[in-house]
């Protein structure tokens, strides 16, 4: 059996065992971790493949969440319809943002996504008639199908985990596909890819919309997990949180962002017993990650493994980029 199959088997076993062994609090923390792992995956799809650091992936999750809160709670549309509309609106927003950002270079992309994200945050904060402003919109709940309450922490866990794992597997396939390789090629040498006749802007644009859609799925779960939609998930704090998790875990690898999210949540849970300086902890983790381990935890483990055994194909894909 190949190492990567063993790894997948281990992950699946751990995910199945978690709700059977752990208490409700740990399961709800895992739900949160799944949601943020999706957001971090959305971030690292752009950061790892294209060298594009986005500060608006949580904005897409927020747009998705607000769609559900406004249409579901305010207008009372049924569950499957609001979910579909949420994903539709998110993809549409990603389409628009993509058009605005597709030609930008690394640092200007970072600034642009920061500005666009803040613009939506501003709207969610100030357009009180529609969004409820600071107080947000409360009361969004998942339906009960045939006696199974999707709001139940453990049922919700099964749902979130299944969807998250499915999306991770899909992205794994994507990373290995010609399209995934094209994205890496664009990051490494855009001119050459263009010279070879590849549609560089279209590929970037497609990746951006795809990442937006993944963040949209995270937003669907986010709003039901919190039971309220407020401007805070759209703020810069959340965007930086996701960025930090991805950098910490290693945004170039598939599992890096998920590992980063898990470690960051564990760290926060631990630290919160002593201090409530969350932002400082995030800032320090980000600072130390950049200075000491720019390739992230996932790739450090990877290197460790490779030194011990013979090099093999693996779940993680690395590039030769010189970026952090």
């Amino acid at each position: 059996m190949k190492r990567e199959h063993l790894l997948i088997l281990f992950i699946v076993a751990a995910l199945v065992a978690w709700p059977l062994v752990m208490g409700n609090y740990a399961v709800s923390q895992a739900n949160r971790a799944m949601i943020y792992a999706l957001a971090a995956l959305s971030f690292s799809l752009l950061a790892g493949r294209l060298g594009w650091f986005s500060l608006c992936q949580t904005t897409f999750a927020g747009i998705s969440g607000y769609t559900i809160a406004i249409l579901g709670v305010r207008f009372g549309l049924p569950f499957p319809v609001v979910v579909l509309l949420a994903l539709l609106f998110t993809t549409l927003s990603a389409f628009i943002f993509g058009l605005l950002t597709v030609r930008s270079r690394k640092v200007s992309f970072l600034m642009l996504t920061l500005a666009l994200g803040q613009m939506v945050w501003a709207l969610s904060f100030q357009w009180v008639d529609v969004t409820g402003g600071y107080n947000g919109i409360a009361g969004g709940r998942m339906p009960v199908y045939g006696g199974v309450d999707l709001n139940d922490t453990r049922v919700f866990y099964v749902l979130v985990t299944t969807v998250t794992v499915a999306i991770f597997l899909a992205v794994w396939r994507l990373y290995g596909s010609p399209f995934g390789l094209l994205l890496l090629g664009i990051q490494e040498n855009e001119q050459r890819m263009r010279a070879l006749g590849h549609p560089v802007y279209l590929a970037r644009f497609t990746a951006f919309v795809l990442a937006g859609a993944i963040a949209g799925v995270a937003g669907v779960f986010l709003v039901y997990d919190m039971g309220i939609m407020s401007p805070s998930p759209l703020g810069l704090g959340h965007a930086v949180w996701v960025l930090t998790a991805a950098v910490l875990g290693g945004y170039r690898s598939l599992l890096g962002p998920a590992i980063g999210v898990a470690v960051l949540i564990a760290l926060e849970t631990l630290v919160s017993q002593y201090t409530d300086r969350h932002m400082m902890v995030i800032g320090l983790v980000l600072l130390l990650s950049i200075l000491l381990m720019p390739r992230g935890l996932a790739e450090m483990f990877e290197q460790h493994f490779k030194r011990k055994s013979k090099p093999q194909a693996s779940v993680t894909t690395t590039t030769r980029g010189e970026e952090p």
């Binding site: 650091f53 642009l112 920061l114 666009l116 613009m119 810069l236 300086r277 800032g283 600072l287 952090p324």
Partner: protein, 285 residues
């Protein structure tokens, strides 16, 4: 009609503040392609410290210098001890400044608390003066005057001095400038120091207009970015025009469409990005 004049004057005051905030940022970016995303945190740092100094000494001038000074020290420390270690990796540099910004803002929350802080202005500076069309607070007129003087001073330095020529050369073509013997890293340290100083000064002065609160660092950073994206990054003229546009839009949107004020603030920037991505006075790369 009075509202119109009032909003115009408020827009000009805002523009003046924005120019003080953004002028340094745009020069530092133009020179080294490093966008200092801790700029808002330096604003907040300068603001809190400056106001504290004013409260304790009663001197406004001392407070403004202290606010600028502490931001300058913070900026230099960050540049020397952190940014130098990731020099050349532009994304690492940007992320590093985000991290530093978060840490400073959270530390300020610990030291100064979450209560909004405003500037203790002496009554003679708060008093309104007659501008012909209407009465307007004296201190705001002073801020506008200061921004204009700052703009002129920066323009003179950039146009007529050797340092200015070196900076312009560095902004235009970093590699060639370095090959001509210009010490760009040293120059950058200097520009970065001035940029941080101006952020700190803006923090103290701006407190008469927007009180210091948690989260203001992000708002200030956003405003500065909007200004330099509109104007074109690296351009001083761009910062001035960008500040005017942003200040006016902000003031009139707050006056007439408060629910969309923040949203409208970003509208000019978005339009610029669509039709002229390099900004009004920026050059194409």
């Amino acid at each position: 009609m009075n509202t119109f004049y009032f909003l115009t004057l408020n827009g000009l005051t805002m523009a003046a503040l924005l120019f003080i905030m953004a002028s340094g940022l745009t020069l530092a970016f133009g020179l080294m392609r490093v966008v200092n995303l801790a700029h808002g945190a330096f604003y907040l740092l300068g603001g809190y410290f400056g106001v504290q100094v004013i409260r304790e000494t009663g001197s406004l001038t001392l407070g403004i210098l202290a606010g600028g000074g502490i931001a300058l020290v913070g900026g230099l420390l960050m540049e020397r001890f952190l940014l130098q270690r990731v020099r050349g990796m532009d994304l690492s540099e940007a992320l590093l400044t985000i991290a530093v910004g978060l840490i400073i803002a959270d530390a300020l929350l610990v030291v100064y608390g979450g209560q909004p802080v405003s500037l203790p202005l002496p009554p003679e500076l708060r008093a309104p003066v007659d501008l012909g069309v209407m009465m307007y607070p004296y201190f705001r007129v002073l801020i506008m005057g200061f921004a204009v003087l700052l703009g002129i001073a920066l323009w003179l330095v950039m146009t007529y001095t050797r340092i200015g020529a070196a900076i312009r050369a560095g902004v235009d073509d970093r590699e060639t400038a370095m090959s001509q013997g210009i010490n760009v890293p040293l120059l950058f340290g200097g520009v970065f120091a001035v940029a941080s100083f101006l952020a700190g000064v803006a923090g103290v002065v701006g407190t008469s207009y927007m009180s210091l609160t948690q989260g203001l660092d992000v708002r200030v950073l956003m405003l500065s970015l909007v200004v330099i994206i509109i104007g074109g990054m690296g351009s001083l003229k761009g910062a001035a025009v960008g500040a005017l546009i942003t200040g006016m839009v902000s003031s009139f949107a707050t006056g007439y469409l408060p629910q969309f004020a923040l949203f409208f603030l970003f509208l000019p920037m978005t339009l610029i990005l669509v039709f002229r991505p390099q900004g009004l006075f920026g050059r194409t790369a």
